[in-house]
Symmetry: C2
Subunit: 395 residues, 2 copies
Amino acid sequence: MISQDKLLHFEASEFQERLRKVKESMYRQGMEVLLVTDPANMNYLTGYDGWSFYVHQGVLVFMDRDEPVWFGRMQDSNGARLTTWLADENIVGYTDDYVQSNLKHPMDFVADLLRDRGCERRNLGVEMDNYYFTGQCLESLLDGLPEAGIKNANALVNWARLVKSDKEIDYMKMASRIVENVMRTAIDAIDVGVREGDAAAAVYHAQISGTPEFTGDHSAIFPIMPSGIRTSTAHLSWVDRRYESGDIVLLELSGCKYRYHAPLSRTVIIGEPPAELADIAKAVVDGLNEVLAFIKPGVTGEEVEAKWRSAISGSKVVKESRIGYAYGLNYPPDWGEHTVSLRPGDKNVFQPNMTIHVMPGIWLDKFGFECSEPIYVTEDGCEAFVEFERKLFVK
Amino acid sequence: MISQDKLLHFEASEFQERLRKVKESMYRQGMEVLLVTDPANMNYLTGYDGWSFYVHQGVLVFMDRDEPVWFGRMQDSNGARLTTWLADENIVGYTDDYVQSNLKHPMDFVADLLRDRGCERRNLGVEMDNYYFTGQCLESLLDGLPEAGIKNANALVNWARLVKSDKEIDYMKMASRIVENVMRTAIDAIDVGVREGDAAAAVYHAQISGTPEFTGDHSAIFPIMPSGIRTSTAHLSWVDRRYESGDIVLLELSGCKYRYHAPLSRTVIIGEPPAELADIAKAVVDGLNEVLAFIKPGVTGEEVEAKWRSAISGSKVVKESRIGYAYGLNYPPDWGEHTVSLRPGDKNVFQPNMTIHVMPGIWLDKFGFECSEPIYVTEDGCEAFVEFERKLFVK
């Protein structure tokens, strides 16, 4: 009656190469087994893709086995069969009494699974600061595997994700085509008397309907589009009101394809911009342009930030937080990769096919201004993923 | 230039009552300070509302102080000023070098904050199994506060949220008006030749544009709308293909208002339903109706599940997982409250104004079927939040 095959967006060889990189890191850090709970890392290694990360699940990478093991809730195991390259025997579901219970924890199941495979004394890496590896996960593993050597493997797989393959860059270009439509839609929709929610609805519609050639996927962060005083801070969005003349609206929006993102920020004002905003907009856009001209293989994260700092010196712009970060494949709550951050102290050296959201967001006491660019590093510089005018948009 | 006031959706007295309930639980469990990291619990106690939960943040409740303290990233502290009832002195931002760094962790900041307030030897409750309380959070607190008594306060605030106020029920009714439009939109959009992503785009648009009277907010879970073989599992969704004749489409959708949800599931088939699907649909809808007629104050979660089990006995329906759960206020990745689960062993007694998503989802080897109802318990029974025909929808 129904026919739909396995959906994999990469060749087997690409998954093998990813696994090789991860095992190399495991070896260097003395880990024999790696427990991956970050949904983006699970996807990266196996293809797994579903909104099941609200219960405990993960992928186990064994140094001495070719294939990882996916574990999760039994009702999601068909999802693993449909979206991963793993053989059936490496997809293991736990029963529903493990779900959100005080009596037993899914990590008890993982401890049993490792014991069954003779791994109870192995060095086990865990993603200590990942959203989906809770304090209870740590405690249950320590209880269940008292002889294992538990090590911090936080962001180990994230670092393997830093330099993208050409195929990944292609997907990020598809996401970029989407976000161009999304941003255009948002700027067109915002006007005096329009409900903020109706503008947000148009944004969501554009994110998912995508382009005539391909549709989009859900983004790891919701559309950030606050107005007025709410632009004085980084992560608010629309409320149930109508835009008024004089409103500033921040737009930090995105496109997403096969879980690969394209984030983009712009700012709109309805009516004449006050001089202070116009000055800040000019300084930020000029600074952003200088930073993009500076980025090339060999520079470090902190050098890029220093370039920004010197570019804006003398202007009214005050900016204490990082001005960008690595991004790509992800799931809620973040599209950032938690590796490179453009700020003092970041010694990471830029390489071709690294992908960075250069995002010098400005949030002052009474209003904000945002103009950002997602870029990839090329052989001799960097390329903007998106074509969209860098300026303050006046409606 | 800009004027927008604090946005609070509840009276001060309601926040005070919530705090009283939480302090009562803290007292019973011997906790002097409670660290709340669950974004829904932060919202419940203070009103805080922003997509900033991808960095560490929280609310501290002190047994001996009237007001909690919000802490988070400095660039989000204006968000706390705009969305919480807290005084400025109780909003504390940390600098950006704490963000996603190997050198320092936001929980080091929290340890310092507690020491500054003379709380370094207090009994401190933490939400051990919350997404936003990682293994590293636990370890950093244990390191930073070696003399504190760290206790498991998992779901402590969630349990306080179980019985809703009338105002909360009102917001859930608003979300229910939205989800009726959303579900209608989805069923109308699905047809042979339509791109799945275009149907999903229409769903998102309906979720946010809401009703003529009010707009909607982003949901804690994305629209779950898989087709074909992908309906054999619980948490997949649209892919980049066009619907074909014979496709089954599961729809687990939602409306959201002020972070309060209305989840709703229905199933569509394009073309004539096979007999097996029609049989299962009838058994599930009949079973659901029996369960809804059974629910009233005084029954327990496991009794409700047993009712379901007896209702479907003799049918072809196989269902091993829980058939529902408490839901309401929430943030990604889940709208469930992680308290009551309708399954064997659940001894929780139903009370008026408890809100439950009765969700007996069926996922078989080749296809699935879903028909659910969000309900609230009344004085002598229960009331469906949503008016939407319970059946298999045939297109």
